[in-house]
Structures are given as structure tokens and as C-alpha cells.
Symmetry: C2
């Protein structure tokens, strides 16, 4: 039985150009009971970055040992530096009672859904093809072919939405943020999250 | 595929003395996009009651014909008059885009969940045994035995909560109303409710 004080885990994905990062930043800034897990990285700390706050700064050897232990939900090597989300870090936040947000790209989301089947998954959609196309067209100097490739990739990503539990349309940013919060709050009311309360109540009869 | 404009159906149950009726009335008064279905009855209209608004007033023969056609989600005979919730009435509201609330007692809820597997079910719990016991004790003249019977019935009802999708604790009435609304809104964001939007979006690529 799940501890009723344990927070829920949310996987949030979207097609490129849907405004996911802005949306998730707003959600986290406005709600102190929601957290993202602190990632591990092998890159050097920048001015002002604190170990354990902005990142867990580890050596390449430590990171590769964690990979070998299957300690990461997902990891990637970007320009020679590793970045990863540790399963233990996500679970620790959840056990402290925080609802944990994992911002995962579409390619990684299916893998993470399998590793964390108890997580709730949310896909962010653009309001229309036209809005997405305008965002992806970017600078006027981009070639037709580059734009076509971006749109084709976006279509492929959006097709994955059907495998997620919830779909939020990012038309108005404030409304999309409210929708995300609504999903997070409602998951606290699901039977599985309330079983502890129910068991306690019945014990007193 | 479900029409994305179709409203959802919610089954709301609770143990006696949990304040379900007050809570559901508040929710319906405050949100015009939520509806309860209009019941059928064989009793005579009272002063000011309109057919099709307060009830569908039908004859005993008509009601029994509807029973024979399995037209009711649930029906009961109270002091010689029939009362029932018609499946067609619930579906008509849902097709018009309203989210439909069905206030069903614990005994009937399992049957209704089987008849409408797509419905979302919510159980309202009291905040504690003490609060429920105080409510169920009622008048000081009730015998110990009557009170014991009520509490035993309440325990049996509360045990059914584990079969529902969501659990709301009615401690503070405004908070419990907000929780119910939260569940209703989040169900509009579930993948099944958003499939129409997703299909339209992909068609335009």
C-alpha cells in the first residue's frame, strides 16, 4: 500500500516549440510543494552554482559507475559532459511528500514510463498546427528543408501524445499552468493516494 | 473514439452522515456546466413543479415499461412511488457537453459503475470517526442500539470506498467542493477526453 503522504511523480513531455520549459518553470515558481529533481552532471560548476542545489557535481568515473548501477531514469552525453536524473533523487523527493515533476523529451518518456509505472504522464500540445509552424519557422533565414524537417519531427513527437495519461493544450499560458496544477492536485485525490487515510479511518471504528 | 466535446459522468457516493447532499448541491449551484440528470417519478407534481425540469412525471405503467426496457441506471420504490435515473437522460446531458453528476447511494454505486464503466467514481469520506459518530448520534433520545446500528452501517459503507477512483475528505466544505471540482476538471484533460483535439491537430500536418 502506498504511503498517503508520499508525493506523486509526473512526467511532462511535449513536441519541440510547444513552450513546455516556460510552462514548467512557471508552475514550479508558483507552487513550493512541487519540485524537480536535482540532476547529476560531470561538467564543472559555474560561478554561483552549489553542489546539491543546482546539480550534483560528480566525476566522469562516478557518473559511469552510476550508469552501470542503473541509477538513472535517463542520462545523456551533451558535448562531452554527462547529465542524468537519478531514480534515488526522484524517490527521495517523493518520500518527503513533494510532487515531483520530470521534464523529459518525447524520446525518453516511454522508457521513463516503463521504469516508473506509478508516474502520471502529461503531454503538452500546441493549440494548432499554424501556431506550432510559426514558432518552428524561427528566423526567416532558415531553409525550407530545415523547417520541413522540424515540422516532420514535431508531427512524429505529437503522435506519441496518445500514450500519455493527460493532454494539456498550451494556448493561453496561465490556463495551461492551471490545467497542469489541476492534474497534479487531482492525483492527490486518487484512491491510491488516499488509501492511508482510509485505512486509518477504518481502524478507529 | 470518444467525442472530445462530450461531458464526463461522475458517480458520487458517501457513507450516511458525510454531508454528500450539501456538498453536491453547492457544487451544482456554483458551476453551470455541471448537471444532475432529471429523475423520472410516478408521484404527482407538487405546486410549481414542472415536467421535464424537476422530474419527468410518468404513470406507473410507463415507469414499469421503462424498467422492463432496462432504461434505468437505478430505480427505487419509496412509499409506493417509483423514482429512477434514466440512462438516456444521463447520456443526453453528456452529449450536450455537460459533465453529469450522479449522486448514488453506496448500495447502488457498484451496479451503476458496471452499467457505465466510463464513469468516474468519487467517494466522500468524513474527516474522522469522531466527526461521523457525532453526526450519526443525532438526537440524544436515540437508543444506544440505534446508534450502534448506524455506525456499523457507516463502517460497511466506508469499506466500499476502496473500489472508487477518487476519494474526497469532507472536513472543510469549501475545500471538499474545490477537490470535487478539481477532479471534474482534470477528467477533461485525460487522454480519452482529448483524443478529438489530438486527431484534428494531426490532420492538419
Amino acid at each position: 500500500m502506498k504511503d498517503s503522504n508520499r508525493g506523486n511523480i509526473f512526467i511532462i513531455s511535449a513536441a519541440s516549440g510547444t513552450g513546455k520549459t516556460t510552462l514548467v518553470s512557471r508552475l514550479l515558481n508558483n507552487h513550493a510543494d512541487l519540485r524537480v529533481s536535482v540532476s547529476h552532471t560531470t561538467r564543472a560548476p559555474r560561478e554561483g552554482e552549489q553542489n546539491g542545489v543546482h546539480y550534483h557535481f560528480v566525476s566522469k568515473e562516478e557518473f559511469e559507475a552510476l550508469i552501470a548501477q542503473n541509477a538513472f531514469l535517463e542520462h545523456a552525453n551533451v558535448f562531452g559532459n554527462y547529465y542524468g536524473t537519478s531514480i534515488a533523487g526522484v524517490n527521495a523527493l517523493s518520500e518527503q511528500g513533494f510532487d515531483v515533476i520530470l521534464e523529459i523529451d518525447v524520446q525518453g518518456a516511454e522508457q521513463v514510463r516503463r521504469t516508473l509505472p506509478e508516474a502520471h504522464s502529461i503531454f503538452i500540445l500546441p493549440p494548432s498546427f499554424e501556431v506550432l509552424a510559426a514558432r518552428l519557422k524561427g528566423r526567416a533565414t532558415d531553409s525550407e528543408e530545415v523547417i520541413r524537417t522540424r515540422l516532420s519531427k514535431a508531427r512524429h513527437e505529437i503522435e506519441q501524445a496518445a500514450g500519455f495519461d493527460y493532454i494539456v493544450v498550451n494556448d493561453d499560458l496561465a490556463q495551461a499552468e492551471a490545467d497542469l496544477l489541476n492534474i497534479v492536485r487531482s492525483c492527490r485525490l486518487q484512491k491510491t493516494a488516499q488509501q492511508g487515510f482510509l485505512a486509518n479511518l477504518l481502524e478507529n471504528f
